[in-house]
């Protein structure tokens, strides 16, 4: 499913809202999340998961074709950690409270 597919589905479930507005809502959600990550902020969506920006340190690498040493600068990368509820949904396990001791995200 793509973003437009998602917009379509949301529109189906909310017949009282125009599709145009549905599109704005979906875009606003991901824009807001992108903005938060740009600020370096952690995002936590209950039942879904959390997003966090981690810094990969600069390191020396090698161009695999030429063998030449290159400096790879530090960079920020977004990470997603799946939440407990979604993790169990995806795995097909019944959502039980005590089966997995892992912290929910």
């Amino acid at each position: 499913m793509t973003k437009s597919g998602l917009i379509e589905k949301v529109a189906e479930k909310t017949p009282h809202i125009s599709k145009k507005d549905t599109e704005v809502v979906v875009n606003t959600i991901f824009d807001a999340m992108t903005d938060a990550l740009r600020r370096g902020e952690r995002i936590e969506i209950r039942g879904f998961g959390s997003f966090q920006v981690k810094v990969r340190e600069a390191r020396d690498g090698r161009n695999p074709k030429t063998g030449e040493m290159v400096n790879i600068p530090a960079k920020r990368t977004p990470f997603f950690k799946v939440g407990k509820e979604l993790k169990e949904m995806v795995d097909g396990a019944p959502p039980s409270a005590a089966s997995k001791e892992e912290l929910s995200a």
Partner: protein
């Protein structure tokens, strides 16, 4: 940022009531979750792709006791951030100088 703050943004930027905004945000994440539960990937251009992957069973070890255990085959969710998002996080530094593969591939399914 939490779901409540995303709801706030919808309320401010789009102008729906708080209740309506909360309901919409809830629906969006529910639809994404249901799609992933069905094993289908969700591709949000400009943000990233959520993909369900099959993991084969393998032998592992309890790191505390050293005991050998069998990890059952399972399905896990992975997130691959879009190149657009990765570059946005590195604006001002050399973040766009990196080679990356096609995570922003065509949007059609």
């Amino acid at each position: 940022m939490t779901k409540a703050e995303i709801v706030e943004q919808i309320y401010e930027r789009v102008g729906f009531s708080k209740k309506e905004s909360a309901d919409l945000v809830e629906k969006v994440f529910d639809i994404i979750k249901d799609t992933l539960r069905d094993g289908e990937k969700v591709k949000i251009s400009g943000f990233g792709n959520f993909v369900v992957r099959e993991k084969n069973a393998r032998k592992g070890r309890n790191p505390q006791t050293g005991e050998e255990i069998v990890l059952e085959a399972r399905r896990v969710l992975t997130f691959k951030p879009s190149l657009v998002l990765k570059n946005l996080l590195n604006e001002g530094s050399a973040g766009d100088a990196f080679d990356d593969d096609s995570d922003d591939e065509a949007d059609d399914e």
